[in-house]
């Protein structure tokens, strides 16, 4: 799996107007994509936890959030490196940057809340409620941000139009491979973490 990444990293020729820096998109977009998947998964597992009260779902919601947070940070870093090179500064508060910032805040708040509650069931229930409640506000953000933040920095249009207009067959292949590989890695780690939690639970029960 990692071999595929290295391969997709080393082979593509720099083919865009932006130059070498454009390579970062092979990583930045899949990372951002995983942020969204992880956040949604965390919310779905939170709902399932509240419905079933099965602690396993809370473990999964937590793992999804942890991985999501990691990818969120990665996406922010790669994004702001690119922003520095093309737009001249690391941070511009354009809609994409603002929304990933708020996503980081939500994750941060979620972990702060989990850290502040000792009893497992209580922590699970309250963290689930918060995850769902925070998710509800996302549509509002999507509606509000583009209206309020001046789109001086044509974030998505540059990315999208460049990808669309200049994406040759090789680029497209590498991009989608990268997307698939990132997604696979995410689910692979997620699965490992899930099984680790499962084993811990089994050990806890066998002590009785």
């Amino acid at each position: 799996m990692t071999g595929v990444i290295i391969f997709s990293y080393s082979t593509p020729p720099p083919q865009k107007i932006i130059g070498e820096a454009s390579r970062i998109f092979y990583f930045h977009i899949p990372q951002a994509w995983i942020c969204v998947i992880a956040f949604t998964m965390s919310m779905i597992y939170s709902i399932r936890y509240l419905k079933t009260r099965n602690i396993v779902f809370d473990d999964r919601a937590y793992e999804a959030a942890r991985l999501g947070f990691l990818f969120c940070i990665l996406a922010t870093i790669t994004g702001s490196i690119f922003a520095k090179i093309t737009w001249g500064s690391f941070w511009n508060w354009d809609p994409r940057e603002t929304s990933i910032f708020i996503l980081l805040l939500i994750y941060g708040a979620y972990f702060a809340l989990r850290g502040a509650i000792e009893v497992e069931e209580k922590r699970a229930a309250l963290a689930s409620v918060y995850a769902i409640f925070a998710f509800i506000t996302v549509p509002f953000l999507i509606f509000v941000l583009p209206r309020i933040v001046p789109s001086l920095h044509p974030a998505d249009s540059v990315v999208d139009s460049n990808l669309k207009f200049t994406m040759g067959a090789t680029v497209r292949m590498i991009f989608f491979t990268s997307l698939a590989v990132f997604t696979a890695i995410f689910f692979w780690i997620f699965n490992l973490a899930r099984r680790l939690h499962h084993i811990n639970r089994l050990m806890l029960e066998s002590e009785d």
């Binding site: 708040a109 702060a112 502040a116 689930s128 918060y130 509000v144």
Partner: protein
């Protein structure tokens, strides 16, 4: 001895919770003092550092809502923390279902913020040279803002009351949820400081209303899971 399961029951129970909290608040004035002192202090600091400089409307609007947000945070969490810390929460849980408690607390927070807004807003205009032409529109935005703030933070207050570290957590958990609300409020206020009237802020007002409705509904659905813990 059986209790009627009607809506009238829900309203009178919610109102009982509200009236009880008002009575407690009037006897201690804990939350109100915190909110007003916080608001007046931040306002004074802001006004002092501004001096005579004339700020553009968008900075003025942002300052206004920053003062409001931090004052609200100082007092809104108290509704549930107080029950938890005095140990009265058990009696409340044994006597009432989740909905009347949530609605009563929501109403109480609405009361607190209404007092806050009616005190701080005139002071804001005295301390700064912000001006508003569309007073009716401005009041409407204020009311919608207050409703939005309560609808989003009352559930968060219930959540953090169960956590071991309460103080800072409330602001940390509330802020990300309030971002869309605060941004919209700032934008609407900016237009009104810039001589706008009702027609200028129609979209924002619709948005504020939608936010309040969605967050209140979400809170009512989710609150029972917090209440059970």
């Amino acid at each position: 001895m059986t209790s009627p399961k009607t809506n009238a029951g829900l309203i009178s129970k919610s109102f009982a919770v509200f009236a009880k909290d008002i009575r407690l608040e009037l006897r201690s004035r804990y939350a109100l003092n915190a909110i007003l002192m916080f608001g007046i202090t931040t306002l004074a600091v802001v006004s002092f550092s501004l001096g005579q400089s004339n700020l553009p409307p968008h900075l003025m609007a942002a300052l206004f809502w920053v003062v409001m947000f931090f004052s609200a945070v100082a007092g809104l969490a108290q509704v549930f923390i107080r029950e938890e810390e005095t140990g009265t929460i058990l009696a409340l849980k044994l006597a009432a279902a989740a909905e009347p408690v949530y609605l009563g607390k929501l109403l109480f927070n609405f009361f607190l913020l209404t007092v806050m807004v009616t005190v701080i807003t005139p002071l804001f205009f005295i301390f700064t040279d912000a001006q508003v032409v569309g007073i009716a529109a401005f009041s409407a935005v204020l009311i919608l803002g207050v409703i939005g703030l309560c609808s989003a933070t009352t559930l968060v207050a219930a959540i953090i009351a169960k956590a071991s570290v309460k103080g800072a957590l409330f602001a940390v958990l509330s802020f990300p949820i309030l971002v869309p609300l605060l941004l919209t409020l700032v934008q609407a206020t900016q237009k009104l400081f810039d001589n706008g009237a009702f027609d200028a802020v129609m979209t924002e007002m619709q948005f504020l209303l939608a936010y309040a409705v969605v967050m209140t509904t979400g809170s009512i659905l989710l609150f029972k899971y917090v209440w059970q813990e």
